[in-house]
């Protein structure tokens, strides 16, 4: 037990790799064994992270369960991992969503082994980002996570559709989407990479706490014959762009609808559930601590972007005909609130309002992880049966599939921010925290919130209500009810949505303490 | 006996020649045993080599013999040994040439030419030198025109004779002027008269230089070489292009070292320009050739240019590098001509298409050609690389960096056409792609010769230390 506790983070982090290797060694044709092994082994990190949660001392400052090993001695980069309240929340989310998504992927029949293998690697990549306390290691996991996602989209994505790349060269839509996804993210990360290199050259260390202290202390003089202030401003934006692409913040969001639309269901779940959080996490873990002054200075710009994301996300979502694109744009909208909270905190770091906004932002990250994953899954369920995502093709399905309808409405309501469900709590906190700090922006965001309601209701209406599309009522196209496996997928998500909505204290306590310690 | 030691190789050669003449009538009736003559000559030459090596090594201090006619020193000795070796190899090549291998005269002329060269290498007197040159040249004129039914061969012999006679006359004129001015004929006594610059000395130098430039085919006295090489029987051309040239350089080196001292001191720029022109002209014209013997002829002109780079450097590593270069060059070019001889015999042509698919027709011959041409182009681990590098080392040592650069640029041009030849052998196919049906058999004497040469080239190219030591030792004995 002591061993487990001493190495719990590395265990959580690398158990999926072990699982991936085990999966790789299984016979190719035994789909059942592959699926169950992957699922079974992915539950282990989940259980471990629950255990981690219970052992975590919320009131204790700094990082816990730290582990540090030599990695790249010459660059003074160590394999340094540790968690605080912020990362713990994200680790829990990741460890929860992965088995859920794996279970959701049981319907995948094509090259199951490679699929599961990549999925498990993806989990390690995401967990690594949340745990890393070394800037270089952070970057390593940040980039590594792209690869499995890239292949998940272009290998198991929807097979239909073509997109024009340039000058009449057409490629499959999923290839287009995946390429866009990886190129956007990599290009966005370039500035980050360069800034990381510069930091390393300056301070000869990548250890985050040390780096934070030294970098923030550096305010005068020149770096490479350029005034520190300018360098810092440029580096700040380099960081911001990298994370903004991932979040994604308007106007860097255009990869997201494509990627979501083409990704396989479970891929979308993870993409919306966890990958987007990586960007927001980057803001909280790196941008705010490393650039407090710059963040305050440019908070207005960030808030502007956030509001744009909220408003445009909502509008765009409302205008979609494709159910999945609708949900995808809703992610842009929801993640806008996260950024709004962050911007508020950046502007007035250390105040109570800021802390409230941050609490809201982090909780929103968690909540969006649950609801977006759920929504994408439900879209996937429908798509698997009907092979269409066009909203016009549906209509009046509620009587055919009442259970599914119920679940869909429940999840949508969480997404909409119905009081009593989790979305309300976090959005309320964000708005409450931001209002005194960024009044105008928050006010505009509230209008955006209105449209959130509009597009979600539109989605529900087009799918479940209205005149029944007879096509799905009988014959070979008869729509079948959601099955047990699918319900099991949704169950933990719905449970948590409800629990947080009713009793958010258990998680808010951890988040709040972390935020207090981080930003005071 | 002791008195004869300095010319022991020459005496042995003479004896060999006589033996060949005696043997000839006995074998006349027995056609099947005629090849014996070739073996006999080759073995005889090697025996002479061995005996001389064992018995007639010069002392460390050079000594004059026969009233100053010859100088018994290491330079002459080293050259003689290589001449004997090269002659033995050439004798083996002769055995493969139908028009030559049954004729005792051919072997006799070969031996006689070798004898003349040996004397060239050690002559220390103008009269002796001239006699030696003529002893070398006359048998070679005959050998070049040996194939009387072949117009080209006749032309070659005649051309060679005309050019040779003319330049011999020029050379002799130069010699006679020297004698007229100084009253001396001993090379080592003449140095004092030529230790500073004057018009007459310049004129004489020109005359002598012209005469020798013909022998080693320096620009602008190189015109004879391609025609003669093309027409002459291939083994003879090989002999001409290697041993005869080396002998010329031996004389050149000795004259510059002891007689025209001022040339090597003050006039090296002229020599450098001459070297540049020789290399460049040889290489550039070689680029355009379609006949392998003409290509080798121009390439051998270029090689004379490289060797001259060492002569330009002269002191320090200069002369040793020349000696080493010549040794390497003799081995390499003999090998190349040996291969040309074999292919020419089988295909009846020396044009490039005759070489298409050679590596498939005879893998061994292909590999030998690889060694020869890569060594010519100056690639390790073959002798040509080390030889070239040493020449350039010598040039750089004496401050002739630009000459070294010219040299390396030239060797790049060389690389181009040598590689092209290899391309024909390895890459191109025969017209019907039926190389299996057209093997190129290699007779035993030629095989022996080729293997020995390949081994020699590799030996020189890898364990070059001792050989260069020998060259240094030989060059040091000159002064």
């Amino acid at each position: 037990m002591e061993f487990i506790l001493d190495h719990i983070l590395t265990l959580i982090l690398f158990f999926p790799v072990l699982a991936a290797v085990v999966v790789l060694l299984l016979p190719k044709d035994n789909l059942k064994a592959i699926r169950w092994t992957a699922l079974g082994m992915s539950i282990v990190p989940f259980l471990l992270s629950i255990y981690l949660w219970t052992q975590f001392q919320a009131g204790q400052a700094g990082f816990q369960f730290e582990e540090q090993y030599t990695w790249y001695a010459m660059l003074n980069s160590t394999f340094h991992v540790g968690v605080d309240g912020l990362s713990l929340t994200m680790v829990l989310l990741t460890a929860l969503l992965t088995p859920v998504a794996l279970l959701a992927s049981f319907s995948v029949a094509d090259r199951v082994k490679a699929y599961m293998f990549l999925f498990l690697l993806l989990e390690t990549g995401m967990l690594g980002v949340f745990m890393a306390l070394d800037l270089l290691i952070f970057f390593v996991f940040w980039e590594v996570g792209l690869v499995p996602m890239y292949f998940l989209i272009n290998q198991w994505g929807s097979e239909k559709g073509e997109r024009e790349l340039w000058k009449g060269v057409k490629i499959q839509a999923r290839n287009y989407a995946s390429l866009k996804f990886i190129i956007y993210t990599m290009a966005g990360s370039l500035g980050l990479l360069l800034a990381i290199q510069l930091l390393g050259v300056l301070f000869k260390t990548y250890d985050l706490p040390t780096l934070t202290a030294q970098w923030t202390a550096l305010t005068e003089g020149t770096i490479l014959n350029v005034p520190v202030a300018t360098v810092k401003a440029v580096a700040f934006w380099a960081f911001v762009v990298a994370f903004a692409v991932k979040v994604p913040v308007w106007p860097f969001h255009t990869w997201l609808p494509d990627a979501h639309t083409e990704a396989p269901t479970a891929g979308s779940m993870i993409l919306a559930g966890v990958l987007l959080k990586l960007g927001a996490y980057g803001f909280l873990r790196l941008v705010l601590p490393l650039y407090p002054a710059e963040s305050a200075k440019y908070a207005g710009a960030l808030a502007f972007l956030a509001v744009m994301a909220i408003v445009f996300g909502a509008f765009a979502s409302y205008g979609q005909k494709d159910f999945k694109r609708l949900v995808a744009y809703s992610s842009v909208n929801h993640m806008g609130f996260v950024l709004l909270g962050i911007a508020a905190a950046a502007k007035a770091s250390g105040t109570l309002d800021a802390t409230i906004a941050l609490n809201g932002a982090v909780l929103q990250m968690f909540n969006h992880g649950l609801s977006a994953a759920g929504m994408f899954f439900l879209v996937g369920v429908l798509y698997e049966r009907t092979h269409t995502r066009n909203l016009d093709d549906f209509g009046g399905l509620f009587p055919l599939v009442p259970v599914y309808g119920g679940i869909l409405i429940f999840t949508s309501m969480a997404s909409l921010g119905l009081p009593g469900l989790n979305g309300f709590v976090s959005e309320f906190l964000v708005v409450r925290g931001s209002w005194p700090i960024l009044t105008v922006y928050t006010a505009i965001a509230m209008i955006g919130l209105l449209f959130t309601g509009a597009y979600i209701l539109k989605g529900i209406k087009q799918v479940l209500h209205g005149p029944l599309n007879e096509h799905w009522a009988k014959g070979e196209h008869k729509l079948t009810e959601i099955n047990l496996r699918e319900i099991v997928v949704m169950a933990p998500l719905m449970a948590l949505i409800l629990v947080i909505g009713v009793y958010p204290a258990w998680i808010l306590d951890v988040i709040n303490k972390a935020m207090m310690m981080l930003f005071h | 006996m002791i008195v004869l030691l300095p010319i022991l190789p020459e005496i042995l050669l003479l004896a060999l020649g006589v033996l060949i003449l005696i043997l000839d009538p006995f074998l006349k009736k027995d056609e099947a045993r005629r090849p014996f003559l070739g073996w006999f000559t080759a073995v005889g030459l090697l025996a002479a080599l061995t005996v001389s090596l064992l018995l007639a090594r010069p002392a460390d201090d050079p000594a004059f013999a026969f009233g100053g006619m010859v100088r018994f020193d290491w330079l002459g000795f080293v050259f003689k040994m290589f001449f004997l070796f090269a002659a033995a190899v050439t004798a083996l090549f002769f055995m493969d040439e139908e028009k030559l291998n049954r004729r005792a005269e051919a072997y006799l002329l070969l031996v006689a030419a070798a004898l003349g060269m040996c004397l060239m290498a050690s002559a220390a007197d103008l009269v002796m030198l001239y006699l030696a040159i003529e002893t070398t040249s006359i048998p070679l004129y005959i050998l070049a025109g040996f194939l009387r039914q072949d117009d080209k061969s006749t032309e070659a012999g005649f051309k060679y004779l005309l050019f040779g006679a003319l330049t011999s006359a020029v050379l002799l004129y130069g010699f006679s002027l020297i004698y007229g001015l100084t009253g001396k004929t001993g090379l080592y006594e003449l140095g004092v008269y030529f230790n500073n610059f004057n018009l007459i000395a310049m004129g004489i130098t020109f005359l002598v230089l012209a005469g020798l430039a013909f022998k080693v085919s320096l620009f602008p006295f190189h015109f004879w070489a391609p025609d003669v090489y093309e027409g002459a029987p291939t083994p003879v051309a090989g002999f001409l292009s290697t041993v005869s040239k080396a002998a010329g350089f031996a004389v050149l080196a000795r004259l510059f070292a002891v007689v025209f001292v001022w040339v090597s001191d003050d006039w090296s720029l002229i020599l450098a320009i001459l070297a540049t022109l020789t290399m460049t002209v040889g290489n550039l014209i070689a680029l355009a050739q379609k006949n392998i013997k003409r290509l080798l002829a121009y390439s051998s002109i270029a090689h004379a240019g490289y060797a001259l780079v060492g002569v330009v450097a002269f002191y320090g590593l200069g002369l040793p590098s020349v000696v080493f270069y010549l040794i390497a060059y003799v081995l390499t070019n003999l090998l190349a001509f040996g291969i040309v001889a074999v292919v020419g015999r089988v295909t009846g042509s020396d044009e490039f298409p005759a070489y298409y698919g050679l590596s498939r027709r005879s893998a061994g011959l292909g590999l030998a050609a690889l060694v020869a041409f890569l060594s010519l182009s100056g690639m390790p681990p073959f002798a040509g690389f080390v030889a070239k590098v040493f020449v350039f080392v010598a040039a750089v040592e004496s401050g002739w960096v630009w000459l070294a650069i010219v040299g390396v640029l030239n060797s790049i041009v060389g690389l181009y056409y040598y590689l092209n030849v290899l391309k024909y052998m390895y890459l191109y196919r025969m017209e019907n792609q039926d190389e299996d049906q057209h093997p190129v058999p290699v007779s035993r004497p030629v095989a022996v010769a080729l293997i020995v040469l390949v081994a020699g080239i590799l030996l020189l190219g890898t364990l070059f230390g001792p050989w260069f030591g020998l060259a240094t030792y030989a060059a040091a004995a000159l002064f």
């Binding site: - | 893998a363 790049i412 590689l419 890459l427 260069f468 240094t472």
Partner: protein
């Protein structure tokens, strides 16, 4: 007397070549197995040298010295430092995998393997030589078999042209360096070609400034430096698979390594003076190479130009003249070596089966050739500098090195290449392995054999291993770089 590891490594391929040449041409099996056995033997020894190299002691180890020509101060002087030990290992790896990949050579395999091994001997010799003369000797040995290998067994359309172009370029470069080396030899006044002695020769700054550029660029031509890179894509494309592997994998490193050892280490002042120029050229390599690669439609040209881009990083790293950059360049040499060997192996496998390298005409190869596809993916990730793979371990310090110089803006420009590289390698992977398989290939693509698989796995293992655990290679290079920095005046 210690076992002479290095001479055995250097001469094993040569001996094998000679043995193979003695075989009858028909004994194809014996030829192949002899080649493989010799390759494995050399690999084992070089792995042993690598593993038992004492990093803490640093310096030159496994030193052997035999007087070869005392008169001129030439000796057969072998030894490895932290810079060359990985490269010796790399050569061993590429040699073995090259033999495995070339198992199917049917046209004159005897000559093929013999030439390939002569080449390998030359390469080993350069990496191990501590004598300037011998370095040239082996350098040239490594160059000329290339001509034959490409011209004889290469791609029929361009082989004559490409082989000649390549040989002439490289020969020009090497002889220009040679002249520089000879001038150094005489100027040093020590009459020795021993590079350890020449390192302490203290040439005057003017001399160094004059001669650094010819010496460095002369070698760097083989490293593919702009504007002398032109031979390399043509050469790669025309060469048969194993030769491309050797060529891009090892030979280009030969140029970079020799440029380092002779140019930078012997003429440090000159290096400092010219470093900005070299960095500029290397930057062009990096960015221009990547862009050109991205518009190629021939599979092999893509890889060929990507090598130009990646070797630019090596030159860049060296030219930064600081620890970060040089260590990165050292690792990059190894990383790029295995990566590009893998690339060319995969290209070869595809080409052998599809008989075309035109990317638009290929597709769906992952089904018949899954391992090759995975190999290409791993290679691509290395190539785009993805963390967790050796490319990142190498490129990151190089960029850091650039940041430490006053030309730091080059890091920003150079970084563009990372995205461009990602775009084009992924495009190739997608199209060739995942696109729709053209009908004519259906059921006509035989699977690869176990030798091919072993080779691929071996190469991938290195890329992933070093990527995950930089400590497997970086300390070696670091110990070598310390010495170079000392020569540069502790900078």
């Amino acid at each position: 007397m210690q076992f002479p590891f290095l001479s055995v490594i250097v001469f094993t391929p040569l001996a094998a070549a000679l043995i193979i040449l003695v075989y009858k041409p028909e004994w194809k099996k014996a030829i192949r197995w002899t080649a493989l056995a010799a390759g494995l033997f050399a690999l084992m020894l070089s792995a042993w040298v690598y593993i038992s190299y004492d990093k803490s002691a640093a310096g030159y180890q496994f030193v052997e010295k035999y007087d070869w020509m005392p008169m001129l101060g030439i000796s057969l002087h072998f030894g490895v430092d932290g810079m060359s030990a990985p490269l010796v290992l790399l050569t061993g790896v590429v040699m073995v995998t090259g033999v495995m990949i070339s198992w199917g050579v049917e046209d004159r395999p005897r000559e093929f393997f013999a030439f390939l091994f002569i080449l390998a001997s030359g390469v080993f010799g350069v990496f191990a030589s501590l004598d300037l003369f011998m370095l040239f000797f082996f350098y040239e040995i490594a160059v000329f078999p290339m001509y034959l290998l490409i011209a004889i067994w290469g791609w029929i359309k361009t082989r004559e042209y490409a082989a000649m172009k390549l040989t002439l370029y490289l020969f020009v470069g090497s002889v220009i360096s040679l002249i520089g080396a000879l001038v150094m030899y005489f100027t040093s006044g020590q009459h020795t070609f021993n590079m350890l002695a020449l390192e302490t020769a203290k040439f005057t700054p003017e001399f160094q400034k004059t001669w650094f550029l010819p010496v460095f660029l002369g070698f760097a031509i083989l490293g593919g430096i702009f504007p002398f890179h032109n031979w390399s894509p043509d050469g790669h494309v025309a060469a048969p698979t194993a030769v491309s592997m050797f060529h891009a994998g090892v030979l280009m490193k030969l140029g970079a390594f020799a440029a380092l050892r002779v140019g930078i280490m012997l003429l440090p002042e000159g290096a400092k003076f010219w470093a900005p120029l070299i960095m500029g050229l290397a930057l062009v390599n990096i960015v221009y190479g990547a862009f050109i690669a991205s518009v190629q439609t021939d599979f092999k040209y893509v890889i060929g130009f990507s090598s130009v881009s990646h070797m630019g990083l090596v030159a860049m790293g060296f030219a930064t003249l600081n620890a970060d950059g040089m260590i990165g360049a050292g690792v990059q040499m190894f990383s790029h070596g295995v990566m590009t060997a893998l690339f060319f192996a995969v290209v070869g496998m595809v080409y052998d089966r599809a008989h075309t390298r035109d990317i638009p005409k290929l597709g769906g190869m992952i089904k018949p050739l899954p391992l090759a596809g995975i190999g290409l993916i791993v290679g691509s990730l290395v190539s785009m500098g993805m963390p967790g793979f050796s490319g990142f371990v190498a490129e990151f310090p190089i960029f850091r090195g650039i940041w430490s110089t006053h030309l730091w803006w080059m890091a920003i420009v150079g970084a563009i290449s990372i995205v461009v590289t990602a775009a084009y390698v992924l495009r190739v992977v997608l199209k060739v392995f995942f696109g729709k398989m053209p009908e004519e290939f259906e059921h006509h693509i035989p699977p690869i054999n176990w030798l091919d698989k072993t080779a691929l796995i071996l190469l991938m293992a290195f890329m992933i291993g070093i990527g995950l655990f930089p400590a497997l290679m970086v300390p070696w290079v670091e110990s070598g770089v310390q010495h170079i920095l000392a020569l540069l005046g502790g900078a």
